[in-house]
């Protein structure tokens, strides 16, 4: 696992914008290529139609007005209106098409990004603040929408425009055109100077925004902790620093952005001056007519307009590239736990679980499990005990393939779980984690998460089994009570009961309870035990718990320490053995006094 990132640390960009990114981007554009081409055609027609305007005006000035031909003038005015209206109609059509295209493109990117995030395993989420993932899916994707749609079309249109103007220039006068085109290398040098600095600057902006987002998210989620430690002032200070970073990097980046436009303007004015100067000299010698000079100078003005527009697009592009490369970086993030190519569906689980010489480490040099082997028969209940951090959770995480083993195999009913699809594996398992996550929504929705098509009756039955029913019905809206984000209106024990009901409802073939009942009071747990017993019947189950009452009745108890199984057996066997479990058990046997 890579070193964990925090809000203090900029994320290093793994891969600068490159060919792969362009291919990826073109994949999103390709789907809408025909529509975009059509939109471009609309734009071209609109522009063509608008070109009639100066001609019509010219007609009026040259003929209708000097001839005092009012009728002709009115005809020309109507023609002018027609030209404009046609132009507006086509522009509107183009815009309407592009609104859809640009929204579709970002919809697709966001959809794929989210889908990819669903595939990424725990270590991705564990190694960076969640705010940094979030900003990519929402804010960054929003930013790039225009660049991939209108930005692209406009670039092409402006380019075409530019080509036409250059052709007109060259037709008018080659020598004088060269003066105008002299501006191009100067501009290129200028852009080259700006480009890399601007890129770096926008990358910094995205980094700093990402840091800020990370800190913001943690502080909203952890508001209670901040308040109990009365750390508001200090946190506000840290936030202000992060905010200041954003501001500084932004100012630096826009310095470059704001240079582009004046830069182009500057070059263009010198070019025009040069045209006049050369014109004066050449005109003096009689080499150039006044018509040519005036024409060239007006084309030169038109020559710089598309370049200005391109400059704007360029700025946008530079800005958004910093976001796009982050988006693509996430999309390219390797899925560490994924379906193998020829993965098969795991048939309905009977329930035998086997570890075959399994070794595993989260971080490279620190092995958590060394050569663990065991076999569990279908329907057995297994308790994992031992000191915290010994590897109990790791074992159950490997059964559900939240991580892949470093060596050895995990087999369910004889199938290597790395050879079957994740969906078919996990959908047959019920896993209750230490942190019982409650989604915002109603209690009913939360329980239904275990079985999406469950009826209300099934939900109530499951809740009754885990003794959650009585507190739920006492709430304002019963099962329809909104529990708010992370179930903030519920006690920890209540959250555990709800997630218990959720797991029960999913009717798993293999049940894993990882400290699932730690916050439930003893009496409720006692009542729960009955439900649990029926639940365990016929299913293989793994239970991690500290309470002996939960452990004692299990068919097999495995004592885990230092990444291996120290001893295993039934409660009675292990007590008789007087080993580690015996010590643990007796130390917990309470005296009344």
């Amino acid at each position: 696992m890579a070193k964990r990132n925090t809000f203090r640390v900029d994320e290093t960009l793994q891969e600068e914008f490159n060919m792969r990114h362009i291919l990826l981007a073109s994949k999103y554009i390709k789907r809408y290529l025909s529509r975009m081409l059509f939109a471009m055609l609309m734009s071209a027609i609109a522009a063509g139609s608008a070109l009639f305007a100066p001609m019509i005006t010219q007609q009026a000035l040259d003929h209708a007005i000097p001839d005092k031909d009012t009728k002709y003038l009115i005809t020309l005015v109507i023609l002018l209106i027609v030209a404009f209206v046609v132009s507006i109609i086509f522009v509107t059509i183009r815009q309407r098409i592009m609104v859809k295209v640009s929204q579709n493109i970002i919809f697709d990117i966001r959809k794929d990004l989210f889908a990819h995030l669903q595939k990424l395993s725990f270590d991705y989420y564990d190694s960076r603040p969640h705010g940094k993932i979030l900003i990519r899916v929402v804010n960054y994707v929003n930013s790039v929408s225009d660049m991939l749609s209108n930005g692209l079309i406009n670039t092409i249109l402006e380019m075409i425009n530019l080509v036409f103007i250059v052709i007109f220039l060259l037709i008018t006068d080659i020598e004088m055109s060269l003066v105008v085109l002299c501006g191009i290398p100067v501009l290129a040098a200028f852009m080259f100077f700006i480009k890399n600095r601007q890129r770096k600057a926008w990358q910094m902006v995205s980094n700093k925004n990402s840091n800020l987002n990370a800190y913001l998210q943690e502080n909203i989620v952890g508001a209670r902790i901040t308040q109990i430690f009365a750390r508001e002032e200090e946190n506000a200070g840290i936030f202000a620093d992060l905010s200041q970073d954003c501001r500084k990097t932004w100012m630096k980046a826009v310095t470059y952005n704001n240079l582009i436009w004046p830069g182009i303007d500057l070059i263009s004015v010198f070019i025009r001056a040069a045209i006049f100067l050369f014109g004066m000299v050449l005109f003096g010698t009689g080499a150039k007519s006044v018509g040519v000079i005036i024409a060239i100078s007006s084309y030169a003005a038109r020559f710089w307009q598309p370049i200005m527009n391109l400059g704007n697009i360029f700025n946008n592009f530079m800005n958004n590239m910093a976001y796009l490369e982050r988006i693509f970086e996430t999309m390219g993030e390797k899925v560490t736990v994924d379906n193998k190519e020829n993965a098969t569906e795991l048939p309905p689980i009977k329930g035998s679980v086997e570890f075959e010489d399994v070794s595993f480490s989260y971080e490279e040099d620190k092995e958590v499990l060394h050569h663990v082997s065991f076999k569990i028969d279908p329907g057995m209940s297994v308790a994992l005990v031992g000191p915290t951090g010994a590897g109990k959770s790791t074992i159950v995480n490997l059964i559900s393939r939240f991580y892949d083993v470093d060596s050895g195999r995990v087999l369910i009913d004889g199938h290597d779980i790395s050879e079957v699809t994740l969906e078919s594996l996990r959908s047959q398992m019920g896993i209750m984690l230490q942190d019982s996550f409650i989604f915002s929504g109603t209690i009913k929705d939360n329980i239904r998460y275990g079985k999406l098509d469950a009826t209300d009756e099934e939900i109530i039955a499951a809740s009754q089994k885990v003794c959650a029913d009585h507190f739920i019905v006492n709430m304002t809206d019963g099962y329809d009570t909104e529990v708010k984000e992370r179930g903030s209106l519920l006690s920890q024990g209540q959250k555990q009961l709800i997630s218990f009901a959720r797991t029960l409802l999913s009717d798993p073939a293999i049940l894993i309870l990882d400290e699932a009942t730690s916050s439930i009071d003893v009496q409720t747990e006692k009542a729960l035990q009955k439900g649990l017993d029926t639940m365990l019947k016929g299913r293989t189950s793994f239970i991690i718990a500290h309470r002996l009452s939960t452990i004692r009745n299990c068919d097999l108890i495995m004592y885990i320490d230092d990444g291996g199984i120290v001893e295993a057996g039934s409660h009675d066997e292990l007590i008789a053995k007087k080993g580690a479990y015996y010590k643990l058990y007796t130390s917990q046997l309470d005296d009344i006094t």
Partner: protein, 606 residues
């Protein structure tokens, strides 16, 4: 829906932004002024290039070589170049000034908002979801920045160009000017109608953005559960719905704009048409010369373009208006729980006498009663336990002490003074609370332990880790105390997280220590270690422990048994055993003996 006093003062956005420009107002006004200047310059510069062209033309028609007029030629040329240089310099610095002031305002508002939400009470957090708050502080706030940096600038741009040209037109020929400008009121009318139509669309769009953010935020936080239930497909479908509705809202907003766009564009294009018609007629009538007409037509863009821009600007402005409403809602919000005026400062340690005097409390303004008429007293230095069924109100009870919630009736006192009368910071500085739902930060372990007191030395951090029985496992980690634990302490087991949270609470040397079921996930041996070390601490404190295990409660000076928001039994372990009530039953259950034995033990022990 809640008791929070949240007055959303109707303060105009202009005054609000103006207030947040503090210190840079002069710069902003200068920028606005300079915007007017460079727009006027933009109108003047073409005059000089026009003059040069005229020189060429005159020379061509008269046959006099251009070199005879060299001085005028050079003068016009230098003015053209020189003024452009001045203009682009002004443009650059003006743009930077807008950026600077907008960043300053963004910085100020953002920090203010952060500070604001940090001081909000739990009701606020129950109402506003994380993703929503984040949207307000990022996306919505960016629309505010954009308004200062771009929208206002564009308004000035457009109006200064428009007005300058209009004035020029009036001076040239008032009648023609009136003819040309006659169309503009209609255009304003259209823009006003568009303003009305788009307001609602933008409001919806902001809501959808917030919804999208909330959904993704929750999915990321809950990624473990999603995977545990193999619900990726379901999550994708759920996300697609919010993604679609956001995209649709976006399209809807844009389409609203596109409905008005043709009208606005038509009106803008009518300006040169009217000029041609009216101007042509005037020339025919002899009111106007061709030359005058040309100078009109050369500048008609300076009237038409601003008109064209206004629609766009209005669209952006409405985006700002919708976003700023959301931002200002938080900006003007008031926390329900704050220090009262003339609150008692108490930087010193409390003695630790804690009293609950007929305290009643319920969530959602009392609609969900949680605590009913609680009266209890904890003497300084005592260790008391609170025990009771899941959901009986234990956590709510202890949350009254640091004022996470205020009681509806009755009062909570520390050292004889109502907790509401203390300065909030002083009160909380004196309370160490290890919460049930352990929340660690993505920081090093050392940083997490020293969260309440960043001045803590590394030695002290180790000391408190030892007290909390966390030393051993931390030492085993590859980077020890410098190991970065992920958000919410991922990578640590429940018991490990609880021990770090305990160390964090101890590290502030609280005079009141509250442990909310903090050892539920640690084994008994570790728990014993912790219990012993808590007795060795080098400072005096009163301790309130919520616990499930008899092994914890039996050592306490007093035990309060809670049931359905009331205290149903209180006394020492022995007394309660003898009483044969709820507690005695619990003991019997946990010991695996029968009630009679427990009672017998209790009676004998007393």
């Amino acid at each position: 829906m809640d008791t929070t006093i949240r007055e959303t003062k109707k303060k105009s956005w202009m005054r609000w932004l103006w207030g947040n420009m503090g210190g840079h107002r002069v710069l902003y006004v200068t920028a606005i002024f300079m915007t007017i200047v460079y727009n006027i310059m933009q109108l003047i510069v073409p005059y000089f290039s026009g003059r040069i062209v005229t020189l060429f033309e005159e020379s061509a028609s008269s046959g006099i070589p251009l070199s005879d007029n060299l001085n005028e030629f050079i003068l016009n040329l230098s003015l053209m170049v020189g003024l452009t240089l001045v203009r682009i310099t002004i443009v650059y610095f003006t743009c930077m000034a807008y950026e600077y002031v907008s960043q300053h305002a963004l910085y100020k508002i953002r920090n203010f908002l952060f500070d604001k939400i940090e001081h909000q009470d739990m009701n606020f957090y129950n109402e506003y979801r994380t993703g929503d708050l984040m949207t307000r502080l990022t996306g919505d706030l960016d629309a505010v920045r954009h308004n200062v940096a771009w929208v206002i600038k564009s308004v000035v741009d457009s109006f200064s160009l428009f007005l300058a040209t209009a004035i020029y037109f009036f001076i040239m020929d008032p009648l023609l000017a009136i003819c040309v400008l006659s169309i503009t009121p209609l255009l304003f009318l259209v823009i006003l109608r568009f303003k009305k139509a788009s307001a609602e669309k933008h409001r919806i769009l902001r809501d959808k953005l917030s919804g999208l953010n909330t959904d993704v935020q929750e999915n990321i936080s809950g990624n473990r559960v999603v995977k545990a239930f193999a619900r990726e497909q379901y999550e994708k479908e759920k996300f697609n719905r919010s993604n679609t509705s956001y995209a649709e809202a976006n399209m809807d907003t844009q389409r609203t704009w596109l409905r008005y766009f043709p009208a606005i564009e038509t009106f803008a294009n009518l300006l040169p048409v009217i000029l041609l018609l009216a101007g042509g007629m005037f020339i025919i009538n002899g009111r106007l010369t061709i030359g005058e007409y040309v100078s009109f037509s050369m500048l008609i863009w300076a009237i038409a373009n601003p008109m064209r821009m206004l629609g766009n600007i209005m669209n952006e402005f409405q985006r700002f208006a919708a976003a700023s409403k959301k931002v200002m809602e938080i900006y003007n919000s008031k926390a329900g729980i704050v220090s009262k005026e003339n609150a008692i400062r108490h930087p010193d340690r409390f003695k630790g006498l804690i009293e609950f005097d007929h305290v009643s409390f319920g969530y959602e303004g009392g609609a969900v009663p949680v605590l009913r008429d609680i009266t209890m007293k904890v003497e300084p230095g005592q260790t008391v336990a609170v025990i009771g069924e899941t959901g009986c109100g234990k956590t709510s009870l202890i949350h009254m002490i640091p004022r996470f919630y205020d009681p509806e009736q009755g009062e909570v006192r520390i050292d004889g003074i109502n907790v509401r009368d203390y300065e909030l910071t002083d009160l909380r500085h004196n309370i160490g609370l290890a919460t049930q739902d352990v929340l660690l930060y993505s920081d090093t372990i050392e940083g997490n332990i020293a969260y309440g007191d960043s001045s803590l030395s590394s030695d002290e951090v180790v000391k408190y880790a030892k007290y909390s029985a966390a030393q051993e496992f931390i030492d085993k980690m590859p980077e020890g105390y410098d190991t970065i634990v992920g958000e919410r302490g991922v990578g640590l087991s429940g018991g490990q997280k609880q021990r770090i949270s305990l160390a964090r609470a101890l590290a502030i040397k609280p005079s009141v220590l509250i442990l909310d079921d903090t050892t539920s996930a640690v084994d008994m041996e570790t728990e014993k270690h912790i219990r012993d070390s808590l007795n060795e601490l080098d400072f005096d404190y009163t301790k309130i422990i919520i616990a499930q295990r008899i092994s914890t409660t039996k050592y306490c000076d007093k035990i309060f048994v809670m049931g359905d928001g009331r205290i149903i039994e209180e006394g020492t372990h022995k007394e309660l055993c003898a009483k044969g009530g709820y507690y005695a039953n619990l003991v019997a259950l946990q010991m695996g003996t029968n009630l009679a034995d427990v009672e017998k033990f209790g009676k004998e022990a007393i």
